[in-house]
């Protein structure tokens, strides 16, 4: 009850000049940067510290503003109307006694938050003005007129190792023989050889068998020969797997690789 009388009291307290000001605001609606900006302008008419502002009165002023805008058929952006709805809700909450056991923030908390938002916006406005009033580069103080270009000196450092040198020399010496450089193939097991060998064998591999067991005889002991044979056999099995003749698996990195002949049902898939 007390609040109701307070409200009407506030209405009467609005002087003629304040009413005129409120009307001027409507004409100026484009000049506002959103509902919070409008609220901040309206709050100035209260001529009090923002911390002591009457949010209820402010809500009234805002709602009045929106009413007048409607009367003048001024189209207000949606966020102005959202704010109006929220302020109407806040106003009713402020005027009515709190429902016992009601959830959610109290009307006072909501009002305090709105006051905080206004104060923060005002503070930022003020800070922005102070910022823009500072001495500015190019207006009040100046940088060096001309910069001395930093000359980029690119220094190339060439390098070569002894190995490069020896390899180069070896290359020249081999070229002297007028024959293309060729590997000594005595200890090289080629993929073609491996393919030939495996084609004959995989047909019998019904179970998973370690790839190593497919290495040709006499190639497993000397590390160099073993390496080339392993590489060729592996490459050959990849080729056979590609052709669908075998399956290949490895349980994890560095684990033994196993192969077996392709299973008929898999071929039908």
């Amino acid at each position: 009850m007390g609040r109701m009388s307070e409200e009407s009291h506030l209405f009467e307290a609005m002087s003629v000049s304040e009413r005129l000001q409120a009307e001027a605001l409507i004409v100026d609606v484009d000049g506002f940067e959103g509902p919070l900006d409008l609220l901040l302008s309206l709050s100035r008419t209260q001529k009090v510290d923002l911390r002591k502002i009457s949010v209820l009165q402010l809500a009234e002023q805002y709602l009045l503003f929106v009413e007048r805008a409607k009367a003048l058929r001024i189209e207000l952006a949606a966020d102005y109307l959202v704010m109006a709805a929220w302020l109407a809700f806040l106003k009713s909450k402020l005027l009515l006694p709190p429902e016992p056991g009601a959830d959610g923030p109290s009307a006072e908390d909501l009002a305090a938050h709105l006051a905080f938002q206004l104060e923060r916006l005002a503070a930022m406005r003020d800070a922005a003005a102070k910022l823009m009033a500072r001495d500015r580069l190019g207006r009040d103080f100046f940088a060096r007129g001309v910069s001395e270009e930093i000359e980029r000196v690119r220094k190339v450092q060439y390098s070569a190792s002894l190995l490069d040198l020896m390899q180069a020399y070896a290359r020249i010496r081999t070229r002297d023989e007028f024959r293309p450089y060729a590997f000594d193939r005595k200890d090289v097991f080629t993929m073609e050889q491996a393919l030939d060998r495996m084609r004959g064998l995989v047909g019998f591999a019904m179970e998973w068998t370690d790839l190593v067991s497919y290495l040709p005889e006499g190639w497993g002991l000397d590390p160099k020969r073993r390496r080339t044979a392993t590489a060729a056999t592996f490459a050959a099995s990849l080729e056979l797997a590609k052709q669908g003749q075998i399956e290949i698996r490895q349980s994890e990195t560095f684990a033994p690789i196993s192969i077996r002949a392709a299973q008929p049902r898999n071929r039908n898939d």
């Binding site: 940067e33 959103g34 509902p35 919070l36 900006d37 609220l39 966020d79 959610g104 923030p105 109290s106 908390d109 909501l110 305090a112 938050h113 905080f116 938002q117 104060e119 923060r120 916006l121 503070a123 930022m124 406005r125 003020d126 800070a127 922005a128 102070k130 910022l131 823009m132 500072r134 001495d135 500015r136 580069l137 190019g138 207006r139 009040d140 103080f141 100046f142 940088a143 060096r144 007129g145 001309v146 910069s147 001395e148 930093i150």
Partner: protein
Amino acid sequence: MTDTEKSLFDAPPLAEQERMVEAILFASIEPVTLREMEERMPHGSDPAEALVYLRKRYEGRGVRVVKVGDAWAIRTAPDLAFLMQKETVEQRKLSRAAIETLAIVAYHQPVTRAEIEEIRGVAVSRGTIDQLLEMEWIRFGRRRMTPGRPVTFVVTQQFLDEFGLESARDLPGLKELRAAGLLDNRALPGAGGDEDDEELTGQSELFED
């Protein structure tokens, strides 16, 4: 040849280093970081120490040695602005939205677009942010570790240079605003309070170093 070899072992005397820093700063329009100076000066030089002396030397002179973020520059004394009409650059007219957005980024950094909108109570147009980015007054900061990982904005060294600030800590009235709690990003009551903790890492980060 022998000189460079020598300098590998002995840094030049401090007075020489001061001359070098002086030459480097005079030669550059942009602020120069200590690191850049170090890279250009002979091995073992300590530009930071040389700067202490250089700065003192230029006190009260027509030009001053100023700190800009983590870099240094020489700038004319502001009281001599009247001599510089010829050099004056037309200041770009900024919209109210741009000025306010800039101030919010400076005072609340790192700040998300949603937070800027929350403070101004209105949507921030793409153009406003773009303009500030283009002027190199703001830049993207780290993403916020909240749902959606929104980008944040922070002010640049260029901004500090243009507004004659040593660091964002020197923004006018920053302390008072902090003390008044006006840099907090208080959430609407009942809208979940998680945001507040997050926000405390805002400008407060600036005070820690």
